[in-house]
Amino acid sequence: MRVLIKGAGVAGLAVAHELAVSGIKVEIVDTASGVGTGASGFAGGMLAPWCERESAPETVLTLGRRAADWWDAALPGQVVRRGTLVVAPARDGAELRRFASRTSGFEWLDEAGIASLEPALAGRFRQALFFCKEAYLDPRAALTGLHRKLLGEGVSFRFGAEQDEEHPGFDRIVDCTGHGRINLTKDLRGVRGEMLYLQTPEVTLSRPVRLLHPRIPLYIVPRGNGLFMVGATMIESADDGPITARSLMELLNAAYALHPAFGEAQLVETGTGVRPAFPDNLPRVFESDGRIFVNGFYRHGFLLAPAMAQEVAEHIQTPGMSTAYPTLKTLRHNPREGVRL
């Protein structure tokens, strides 16, 4: 069987990996010049389904809790399992309690607890939540690592492809083109996310830290070598233009609130990605015009791509399941049963 995958972002690469390990011949095409040029390359890379449960439905936790193991197996050594620390300025203590009331899998930390986990934050916050089961990875390293691994598994890549070229000779086509489907796939919209990279040798963090704020919640993910990814805005727009002054100001302000030494950091990169999302902000797998579509990862690309990829692979290898099947939406009501296509 030969399968063509359109799109070399996190979804396409994850699907390719699932298929390749089952011995299926896979080719990936992308109009871009390399992997992860869409929203994936601007992701935080947090495998944090317990934290995400604050605003996401249970499905995100059910499917996402397997993500760290999947990435660990696919790319040994890239997943860092040190949990997530959630803090709030003293006057926003209500935000911390609200966050706690919507989530599980955490413990409350006092000042001493915070200091022992992240000495750089000692004395800066009175209370924090620690989600010890969570993990993270560096999305760009993961994307290039997966690219290399797939090449080793015999997957072929073709970059700089034409937008609408024909694809004869494939048994199945899986479309993982993300925000490229906005205006083409019903109900798919873009949610703009802006991020930036700061570099400073003065702050050391060993895990992602989320700073709660009633208006501007943000996270900072350490990337090593004094590099920190700060993200991310959530704006209802498919505009992928440069970061706005307001967003830049808010992200920097929040970073500064987390630690004043970020005020001296160098701003080494800003970026904008457009997250594809369906109205319920959950990903879907569906078949249309003989193609399989995987889309709508919203802010959960690295978190949910493994589960979606497994389901696509299972679907392709299960004969007699080729007619229109329900989308993942049905899963909201029955999360424990896993994804049924």
Binding site: A56, S101, R189, G190, P214, I235, S237, D239, N281
Partner: protein, 257 residues
């Protein structure tokens, strides 16, 4: 019926559209609230107004009236520009006018607000100004052409509920014929019931619903509280007194001693 700029609505709940967990939940909350007016921020949610089409389409599909707002504007000219963009995008003369004067409390800049209200009213807009409970500012806004006032009862998103009840009473007494909509600061359904009992005409909510554990259920809870408070006001509330009043006459009762 509530009349706002010659438009009659039966729901006294106006709902904001920001910061819901998902558009699906926003849509379900809007339906549960039975709101007939959704307010939409042009600035925050669009990064320039050109895009954001899919989100606006979803809101339009809910079939309610749209009240665009100028959230995030800090000067009169910014607010006027945003209002004009909103008129084009949404095809309505209605504008919820917000000019923020204080970054932290999001308190309105009432001077710039009056200025922007004057410009927009002269330009044919029907202005819903987000203001404080200050009577003089209210008068100036009416002079500027506003025929609705939207006082805060506490800072935006604070959820602390009515902070100055005498000021709200006084506002109701001074503007008996102007629709008064409490905008901002409500946290729970009882807060909404309270301001409706004071005789306010409607309530605008966003954070209290969007950030609730179950926004859909909270939308329904507020709808009931608003209706209860309004009915209570119309039914004529008893004034509290500082002594007990027996509900049946004492004189003439048999005495057993």
């Amino acid at each position: 019926m509530l009349e706002l700029y010659e438009t009659n609505v039966s729901s006294r709940l106006l709902l904001g559209t920001a910061r819901y967990p998902s558009p699906t939940i926003l849509a379900d909350a809007a339906r549960a609230s039975k709101t007939e007016i959704l307010t939409v921020s042009l600035r925050r949610e669009t990064a320039g107004g050109k895009q954001g089409g899919a989100f606006f389409e979803m809101i339009r599909d809910l079939g309610t009236r749209i009240l665009p707002n100028t959230a995030g504007c800090h000067t009169a000219s910014e607010a006027v520009l945003t209002a004009r963009m909103a008129r084009e995008v949404f095809g309505t003369n209605w504008i919820k006018l917000e000019v923020i004067g204080h970054q932290d409390t999001l308190q309105p800049d009432v001077f710039a607000l009056v200025e922007a209200a004057r410009i927009l009213s002269a330009d044919g807009f029907e202005v819903f100004p987000y203001t404080t409970d200050d009577l003089v500012v209210g008068e100036r806004l009416i002079e500027a052409g506003c025929r609705v006032l939207m006082p805060w009862c506490a800072p935006i998103g604070s959820a602390i509920g009515p902070q100055n009840i005498p000021a709200l009473r006084s506002m109701r007494a001074h503007f008996p014929d102007i629709p008064l909509i409490v905008d901002a600061g409500l946290g729970r359904p009882s807060h909404a019931a309270l301001v409706m009992e004071l005789g306010f005409d409607a309530v605008l909510l966003n954070t209290a619903v969007a950030n609730a554990g179950d926004p859909v259920r909270m939308a329904g809870a507020f709808a009931k509280a608003i209706e209860a408070g309004h009915s209570g006001y119309q039914a004529g509330l008893l004034e509290p007194r500082d002594m007990a009043v027996p509900s049946t006459p004492v004189i003439g009762k048999a005495v057993f001693s």
